[in-house]
């Protein structure tokens, strides 16, 4: 895990001091809300339906025990004792008082954290593969490059007033766990023919009102040129992205209107004119960052007798192992996914008490690392197989051992109309209703891999376009309705979902999902996932089931 040096520490301290002075000017009435708005947004402070919301950056989803304890403390002291993890792996606190905000930033700075660039038309918090450094299928630790991007993008003098917000996701593994095709830039590490490492560069993905999957504009970019190439992409966007219409200002619209080929040509031309030495990091700096990401693992036997004994005796533990525990690159270790999706609870929410427990477990059993993924779950990346029974028991004691990772009750949902000023409809109660229908773990497991994603408005924070079932809240004459899409995927086989039919009233949504599941279980062949069955049989039988009554 990378730790701040003196320079990084002074930087966030300067930032906190600057914001403290700005809040003082606002509270004293020296500047009005209009003038203050861009300032607070640069520090992740939004004004929502009921209160200020602070969005705290968790770069590439990586936390230490000290950081997570601090987040628990902040939620307990300044909020209502809980926080909400988002699909950008940030933590949101929804009940913040303006006067407390500077103090919170000071607390965050103490543990090498901040809320910079979690809002505004800037390069936002960078996300990465949550299994980084733990999975066998990666070519390198993507966090080395993510940290380089974090620093480069922090208060970038040229790119702090872009046409619109800008999101970058990084993976270095074969399996795409970072949804790289749905972001403004997706970077996927590849090995070239001569053995050199380079990035496949995808640009212009995004969901929202007009969803696009990012086309590849360069198959192979040598890693050492990453930052100069990003600078070229951002410069083309900063100069030519639309600024006349907020709905057309994302880079996806520029890429789509020029065509990927022409956009790539412009980037290459700009890149050719840039001096690589201006932006690209020198080797000594890359080596310094890399040194922060070189975990060493003990030599352990590949099988743990303690674990096997418990597994044989305890079916609930065995189910947890099947659903939530994943292979680690080092023998004798495992990756433990922690579901924040207990049926009936709010997806992504976690109490301060739970945060403290996970922080403790991370310290004791996971080499002081905890991760956040875009599915709004947490994970412990480096747990010894021998320790799994203790970790499971400790998680179960605080209701964090729900065995539903990637199952139908592991639902992504944005905060929706319960909190958000932009929302048309609530997302949380819909997620709760669906999850409760599949609360029986045996049923959920039989249904199998099933990604449901819910957004409360067209901005698509809940990624509904890439849900196996996507659910979009819409407003129909003051009533909440929900538009269903089927067949979306955010993985390697990224696909946008297809519209099922007319929007449904809130009371019909969970029924409709049950009907869709019935059709799937009737139609599925062998061990097909829902997505496979859907791709084979098409939309018609699903549509027929949900809208049968309407005929």
């Amino acid at each position: 895990m990378y730790h701040y040096d003196a320079i990084d520490k002074e930087f966030v301290a300067d930032r906190a001091a600057e914001f403290r002075a700005q809040v003082a000017r606002r509270l004293a009435g020296e500047i009005n809300e209009d003038q203050f708005k861009p300032i607070r947004l640069m520090n992740g402070l939004y004004l929502q339906l009921h209160a200020y919301m602070l969005r705290i950056a968790i770069p590439y989803g990586t936390l230490t025990s000290a950081k997570l304890h601090k987040l628990a403390y902040i939620a307990r002291t300044y909020d209502k004792d809980y926080g909400h993890f988002t699909t950008r792996t940030n933590l949101q606190l929804h009940w913040i008082k303006l006067k407390d905000a500077p103090e919170i930033l000071d607390h965050l700075a103490e543990v090498e954290m901040h809320s910079m660039q979690t809002s505004g038309n800037v390069i936002r918090n960078v996300t990465a593969d949550p299994y980084a450094g733990a999975t066998a299928d990666e070519l390198d630790d993507p966090r080395v490059w993510s940290e380089a991007i974090r620093q480069w993008s922090t208060l970038h003098p040229e790119f702090s007033f872009l046409p619109r917000k800008f999101k970058i996701a990084v993976t270095a593994a074969v399996k795409d766990r970072a949804a790289t095709r749905i972001y403004d830039i997706g970077l996927a590490l590849r090995r070239g023919r001569d053995g050199e490492l380079g990035f496949e560069v995808m640009v212009g993905g995004g969901l929202g009102r007009t969803p696009y999957l990012a086309p590849t504009i360069r198959e192979f970019l040598p890693t050492r040129h990453l930052l100069s190439y990003l600078e070229a992409i951002l410069r083309v966007y900063n100069r030519h992205g639309r600024r006349d219409n907020v709905w057309k200002a994302r880079i996806k619209v520029l890429v789509a209107s020029l065509g990927a080929e022409e956009f790539a040509r412009q980037v290459e031309e700009e890149w050719g004119k840039l001096k690589p030495s201006v932006a690209d990091l020198p080797d000594h700096e890359l080596a310094r960052i890399r040194a922060g990401f070189t975990p060493e693992f003990e030599a352990l036997p590949a099988v743990s007798e303690r674990l096997e004994a418990r597994k044989a005796a305890d079916p609930a533990f065995a189910r947890f192992l099947r659903r939530n525990v994943h292979a680690h690159k080092a023998a004798g270790y495992a990756i433990v996914d922690i579901s924040l999706k207990e049926p009936g609870e709010t997806p992504g929410d976690i109490t301060s008490g739970q945060m403290d427990i996970v922080a403790e477990l991370g310290k004791r059993y996971s080499r002081d690392e905890i991760r956040v993924n875009y599915q709004q779950n947490l994970l412990l990346p480096h747990v010894r197989l021998d320790d799994l029974p203790e970790v499971y028991d400790a998680l179960a004691a605080v209701r964090l051992a729900t065995p539903n990772i990637d199952l139908i009750s592991d639902i992504i949902a944005c905060p929706g109309l319960d909190y958000c000023a932009l929302a048309n409809a609530r997302a949380i109660p819909i997620a709760q209703q669906i999850a409760e229908r599949f609360a029986d773990p045996a049923l959920a497991e039989d249904v199998g891999e099933f990604r449901i994603k819910i957004s409360g408005c067209i901005n698509a924070c809940g990624h509904h376009h890439v849900g196996n079932i996507g659910i979009l809240g819409v407003d129909k004459k003051g009533e909440e309705f929900y538009q269903l899409t089927l067949g979306g995927s955010g993985d390697n086989d990224a696909t946008l979902g297809q519209m099922l039919g007319p929007a449904l009233p809130a009371a019909r949504v969970a029924d409709a999902v049950e009907q869709l599941v019935l059709v799937y279980r009737r139609e599925r062949a062998d061990d097909e996932r829902f997505l496979d069955t859907y791709r084979r049989v098409g939309l018609a039988p699903f549509k027929e089931a949900v809208y049968a009554d309407a005929h």
């Binding site: 930087f11 300067d14 620093q151 007033f161 600024r243 000594h284 700096e285």
Partner: protein
Amino acid sequence: MPTLIKLHQGKATLANDPFTTVADDEPLPQGDVIISLTRFQQEGDRLASEGRAVGVRIEADEEVEVLAYDLPRLAVVALAFPKFRDGRHYSNARMLRERYGFTGEVRAVGDVLREQAMLMYRCGVDAFEPSDGSSPEQWQAATQRYSHVYQRAADARRPAFDERGEA
């Protein structure tokens, strides 16, 4: 007359502005002038031959490439910010300095706020007409708020990766 603040080697001072900014439909006064790109393209040669100093005002949707061959004879390039949120001129400023090696004055005019001072300065802007009533002291403080920066840009500041050096 708007206030003109110049930043030289990190120090901000109030400057007398020898230039008159002239709209396209106004007659040209005597002396040094800042004119639009259109007017410069029509009358620039004549004005230069008269021995006056000439500046060109670039709008946010205009690109500095068009000035590439004229830069050696320009005293000022004024970048007009229609709204502080419009960031296109940050790219224009860096290109003027880093690509074209322009050594004259790069001036920020329009919606120019203290909150943007450091970013503009880092991109190569060295003269400012603040629209928020900032004093030179306030302006200078705003450019010095951060002890460190993470990128190399058009200013002389050493980025963090150079400060760290080959440890």
